[in-house]
């Protein structure tokens, strides 16, 4: 499986794993969405630390989850964490910074 999900209180964290493409994104999406719909989190973190490859399907995955949490509550926020060099290039191209707080790898881990 390409995702592990943790949740506590108002927060859901999705740790993506391996290669994120159209093939794997479908399964990842379904798994995250079922948790979001159940937990209705105010804050969603998507962690990219263990992503070894990502194409624009990964962008679609992030934007789709953003739309979903916003549709549940317009105050919800999205954070993208531990972005690696290759995934960062695609996120910049997509302008994901406009909808999410993006934190790169090796940035301060504890908050």
């Amino acid at each position: 499986m390409n995702v592990t999900i943790e949740s506590s209180g108002n927060l859901v964290i999705a740790y993506l794993i391996g290669e994120i493409d159209h093939h794997t994104a479908t399964q990842v999406r379904d798994k995250i969405d079922s948790v979001i719909k159940f937990k209705k989190p105010g804050h969603l973190i998507i962690d990219f630390r263990n992503v070894t490859f990502m194409d624009s399907s990964g962008i679609g995955l992030v934007m789709g989850r953003y739309r979903l949490i916003k549709s549940i509550s317009s105050a919800s926020t999205l954070e993208i964490k531990n972005v690696t060099r290759q995934t960062k290039k695609i996120m910049e191209l997509a302008g994901l910074g406009r909808i999410a707080i993006i934190k790169e790898t090796n940035n301060d881990e504890n908050e």
Partner: protein, 144 residues
């Protein structure tokens, strides 16, 4: 002059997105590419192959024809061809964020191909299919 080339035919199944990426990266590995060059090329190929599956053969199955060549200037050319629905307006299709896809398509496939390769050429004919040609020079790791 061509140093090496290959021709590959696969089914339009999403499991072959990863397969195509590995094939292309194995093909260029004798050029000793940097990690970034490999990642860029894999990403562009992944976009083009995914488009065949998601758009060209939407609701159906067909073959995807991938070929590659390396010339003596270390320019890698990868051609991804389908016999699917074709694109009526190529300029519009290549506009960032434009998508006819459902669900989570971001409309950024062509944008990624353009920015991760040196050159992209798209030819398409409605109901006949689409051919995407990606070119990228592989500088490779600097040898000391």
């Amino acid at each position: 002059m061509k140093m090496n080339e290959f021709r590959l035919t696969v089914d339009s199944k999403s499991v072959n997105e990863a397969f195509a990426r590995v094939v292309v990266s194995a093909f260029v590995s004798p050029l000793d590419p940097t990690l970034e060059e490999i990642a860029d090329l894999k990403t562009a190929v992944s976009e083009a192959v995914t488009n065949c599956i998601v758009h060209a053969y939407k609701n159906t199955y067909g073959k995807i024809f991938i070929s590659g060549s390396i010339d003596d200037n270390h320019i890698v050319k990868i051609v991804i061809r389908d016999k699917g629905c074709g694109i009526s307006d190529i300029d519009k299709a290549m506009t960032p964020l434009f998508t006819t896809g459902e669900g989570d398509r971001a409309g950024l496939g062509f944008t990624v191909m353009e920015s991760f390769c040196d050159k992209i050429k798209v030819r398409s004919k409605q109901d006949k299919g689409t051919t995407v040609t990606l070119s990228k020079k592989i500088e490779g790791k600097v040898k000391w």
